[in-house]
Symmetry: C2
Subunit: 224 residues, 2 copies
């Protein structure tokens, strides 16, 4: 489902954010992406949604070589991939409800479906009581949870979560990853970049470890 072949990303100033990465992630897998700060996790995520392009190498998503994807097709790619960003990327002038509803509006869902599904998914992340709040009226962890709700409300085939539990307490973190596990058991391929050692060691999923842009370890049922 997701295939990287010798993918390298060099930023200006000769910064090798990813170097010669080759790996496959099959449909329905759950993988943790771990590694020190600056090791390339967010870069990995950005390459998959074409927010950045590789310096060299090939990336295939569901058999499509995304290097060759025309610009006008990128929004369709991103609709297949729900993304929780490390910096949330919420729309400041829209409420919590509107931010999450937006993900359904762009796929043409009816008002009726939106009014039913948005509160439902926000309850799942514990924010049923914040529907009318604006992003700047939320705590850090609450903003993070809105970003999570928005990423999976469409039940996309792939869910990329870039450090989705960095700003929440351990019991809420557990709840979030259990939710990702539930989404995964429904068929969604889940890739979660994280620094949370406890979570990785608790869930024992595939662990892909990065260091200085290289994959140094890749284990099924791995530990941090």
């Amino acid at each position: 489902m997701i295939r990287l072949r010798r993918v390298t990303k060099v930023y200006k100033g000769n910064i090798y954010a990813l170097e010669d990465v080759t790996l496959d992630i099959e449909k329905g897998e759950f993988a943790f992406l771990v590694g020190p700060s600056g090791s390339g996790k967010s870069t990995f995520v950005k390459l998959l949604i074409k927010e950045e392009e590789p310096t060299s190498g090939q990336i295939y998503i569901a058999d499509t070589n995304i290097n060759e994807l025309r610009k006008w097709k990128i929004p369709y790619l991103r609709r297949k991939i729900g993304t929780v960003f490390q910096d949330y990327k919420l729309i400041p002038h829209k409420t919590v409800f509107q931010n999450v509803a937006f993900a359904l509006e762009v796929t043409g869902k009816s008002r009726h479906v939106i009014d039913q599904q948005v509160p439902e998914v926000l309850k799942l992340v514990g924010l049923g009581h914040k529907l009318d709040a604006f992003p700047d009226e939320l705590s850090g962890g609450e903003q993070q949870r809105v970003s999570i709700a928005r990423a999976f409300i469409n039940r996309p085939p792939i869910l990329l979560a870039d450090e989705p539990t960095g700003n929440v307490d351990p019991s809420l973190a557990l709840g979030i990853v259990k939710l990702l596990e539930k989404i995964n058991s429904a068929g969604t391929t889940v890739i979660m970049a994280t620094h949370d050692k406890e979570i990785v060691n608790t869930f024992r999923k595939r662990v892909i470890a990065l260091e200085n842009g290289r994959v140094i370890r890749d284990q099924d049922r791995g530990v941090y």
Copy 2:
């Protein structure tokens, strides 16, 4: 040094972010502030630097009642309190070096002192090689570390850190808190809001626990 007397903060919509908080933090103490997402930790920090004002109650910093502080004096208050924000608040059009140098410029330090101290403090947080990078060219954890460097370069008497390790790996988190401990042993009062259970249980400092805006626990050498 820091005294709160029956401090309550209610946001619009009747949200009690802090409720009837009374506590003292003495000069030179190190306290962890813990609690679930949305429990009031960031609100606590904002009240101390007058980014928000209490709905009721009194706040004293170094014997000054900050409720009565004139608006023009607020920058002087904030120079006494180095703050690491949960959302970093870096200046986008300034480099890493310039962002940190700014904290020294506003206290009138000479160019000579700035050119010597800025690289030094950035090396301490592992960013000696990123001086000329801009915030949007940094990883999440790197931006967090610039925010930390900027907060303590002035060796302020009080350091407030709002979740300074949320975006870094465990070994780097340990390094950061060890650095805060070193700053504390030099006389700085340190208050660190955190979700990191491991860190709190490792360092065994005073633990102030919030829940729904109330202090539910306050222990010396506490655990998460």
